[in-house]
């Protein structure tokens, strides 16, 4: 059974047609690279998958069931997590507090429920260890490197044990060393059977970790190929329009 599939997704904002009949599919433990120039419709598509936008038409299928996401929490509950481009972290909180934000571990004392910090620190440390990250749960996020911040954002997605993680430009603004860390984090997710959709402008990253690549242009998918059957040159030609379809 296919893990996640989009069938004929279209989206219009008034007179502007942002997406036209987009088909996309991904299986468990697969990394799909979603590429395209600015304005190609990648972010709109991700926002539909994440529950930020409703599609004007088309269907989403998750594990053989037709699904509709009314908001991001709805998408999360059904197994779709997002790592946003700006990571959506609170710099003034610790790594563990960010991982558990909105889903804090509690301990009951009589009629009251208090935050269980030791449990949160232990669980966050375990998630970081699974991601092979050196991030420490008690450290404030504002003191962290780009790679560590990514680890915090990715560890947060692990709490709900998602089937699919959407990552929006995770390597856009970090150093070369940190890019390597993030790509390793993506591989770890894949190894744990999670499907990852990676939006990126960086060709080397997509070719380093993805199993498939889908190219979008002017709101439509113009190519969907196994990464081994394409090349950076062909993908570039598809992005720019030098090559119409592949």
């Amino acid at each position: 059974m296919r893990l996640f599939e989009l069938r004929g997704i279209s989206k219009n904002f008034g007179a502007i047609q942002a997406l036209t009949g987009v088909n996309l599919k991904i299986d468990a433990g697969e990394v799909l690279g979603l590429m395209g120039d600015n304005g190609a419709g990648k972010s709109t598509l991700i926002k539909i998958m994440a529950g930020n936008f409703r599609a004007s038409s088309g269907e989403m299928w998750l594990k053989g069931e037709k699904v509709e996401f009314h908001n991001p929490l709805d998408a999360r509950r059904k197994g779709v997590e997002v790592v946003y481009q700006d990571l959506a972290l609170c710099d003034n909180l610790t790594a563990a507090e960010n991982v558990f934000l909105g889903r804090e571990a509690k301990i009951r004392l009589g009629p009251f429920r208090f935050i269980n910090y030791p449990a949160m620190f232990r669980a966050a440390a375990r998630h970081f260890a699974e991601l092979k990250s050196e991030t420490r749960p008690r450290d404030l996020v504002k003191q962290m490197s780009g790679g560590q911040r990514q680890a915090v954002a990715i560890a947060r997605t692990r709490l709900s044990n998602p089937d699919i993680v959407l990552m929006d430009e995770p390597t856009a603004a970090i150093s070369v060393r940190q890019v390597a860390e993030v790509l390793e984090l993506i591989r770890r997710l894949r190894d744990q059977g999670v499907a990852v959709i990676l939006i990126s402008h960086r060709m080397p990253d997509v070719f380093a970790v993805c199993d498939h690549v889908s190219v979008m242009r002017r709101g439509a998918v113009v190519a969907d190929k196994p990464i081994k059957q394409t090349s950076p040159e062909e993908v570039t030609a598809l992005i720019t329009g030098a090559l119409e379809f592949a």
Binding site: L101, G102, E104, K142, Q143
Partner: protein, 330 residues
């Protein structure tokens, strides 16, 4: 060498001592202690039981309001209406008692008035996305005006059948300190626990740190923002009820200028006006410092008009100190 998950979970960014030294309320406490030691040399009266009683009672009214203000400021908001809410809540409580109602009804009426003002502020700020500065500036004018309209510019000094009990609540003592100080300490402890150990407390800090991130991760941002303005209104009303009881009179000018003193208490105690940082103990000690400065100037025979200068200098110094710590940290 491999490190276990348990060890990583225990690793701290700073040693407890270094963390303590980076804690602004510690430095404010030290400043307060130094002022007290100096004053012990300057005045024979400063370290007397009576003076301690007066100082702790006096800063309690502002301290209680400042606790609510701290929650608001941590979410990157501001509540300029607290002083006017003190005036309105105090007047409503006084009028209810004056009309012959029981003590608990009068207090409840006052507290509900404060909460109602907070609800209006909170809905406009959280759900209609209006600026907290503008909304609470509006409430600042409206609440004071309502207090004047309700009172018809008369002072209320007769509180019906429960007058004795009501005035004892605000003006009495417990364990040798003013009731108001006991209330402040209890509320401070409750705020400390709520800020640190409740989900609500963590969400308050998260909203101040990055509201959009908090929203995306499922924090009920609007509800939390509404709650802090309700809490601020409630704290103002608690202070108002105690103040009316202590003074034995409800006057519509009550609480005038309290908003700035409450903000000053929070900021001196380490609350960041940019949101995301602050705490209940800091606010408590900030309020204490302001009152001790006022008291010290009085006892040292300095013109009381200098109070504003000293408090202002402390505010700027506190902000500079926090900026300096941030620069060192990052």
């Amino acid at each position: 060498m491999s490190v276990s998950v348990e060890q990583v979970a225990q690793q701290r960014e700073h040693t407890p001592l270094r963390a303590l030294l980076a804690h602004q309320p510690l430095w404010v406490t030290i400043a307060l202690a130094i002022i007290c030691l100096v004053m012990a040399q300057v005045s024979d009266v400063f370290f007397t039981k009576d003076n301690f009683f007066n100082v702790t009672r006096n800063f309690s009214f502002i301290g209680i309001i400042a606790l609510g203000m701290t929650a608001v400021i941590i979410t990157r908001g501001i509540d300029l209406s607290v002083g006017s809410i003190v005036g309105l809540s105090g007047m409503v409580a006084g009028m209810a008692l004056n009309a012959g109602h029981s003590w608990w009804f009068g207090i409840l009426a006052g507290l509900l008035t404060g909460v109602a003002c907070g609800v209006v502020n909170g809905i406009l700020i959280a759900y209609l996305n209006l600026s907290s500065f503008i909304v609470t500036l509006g409430m600042f004018a409206v609440a004071r005006s309502l207090a004047q309209v309700l009172s018809e510019n008369h002072m209320i000094y007769q509180f019906g059948p429960d007058e004795r009990l009501f005035t004892t609540i605000g003006g009495g003592t417990m364990l040798g300190v003013a009731n108001t100080f006991v209330v402040l300490v209890v509320l401070m402890v409750l705020f400390m626990i709520a800020f640190r150990y409740s989900g609500w407390g963590r969400w308050v800090y998260a909203i101040g740190g990055n509201e959009q991130a908090a929203r995306l991760t499922g924090v009920p941002v609007n509800r939390v923002k509404l709650s802090v303005y309700m809490l601020s209104g409630l704290m103002s009303a608690i202070s108002a009820v105690l103040l009316v009881g202590y003074q034995g009179a409800a006057i519509n000018a009550m609480g005038t200028g309290y908003e700035l003193r409450a903000i000053a208490s929070s900021v001196i105690g380490g609350t960041d006006l940019m949101g995301g940082a602050g705490g209940a103990y800091g606010t408590f000690i900030g309020a204490a410092l302001i009152e001790v400065i006022r008291n010290s100037l009085l006892l040292a025979g300095v013109d009381a008009n200098w109070e504003g200068t000293f408090v202002g200098l402390f505010i700027v110094f506190a902000v500079l100190l926090s900026k300096f710590r941030e620069m060192r940290a990052g």
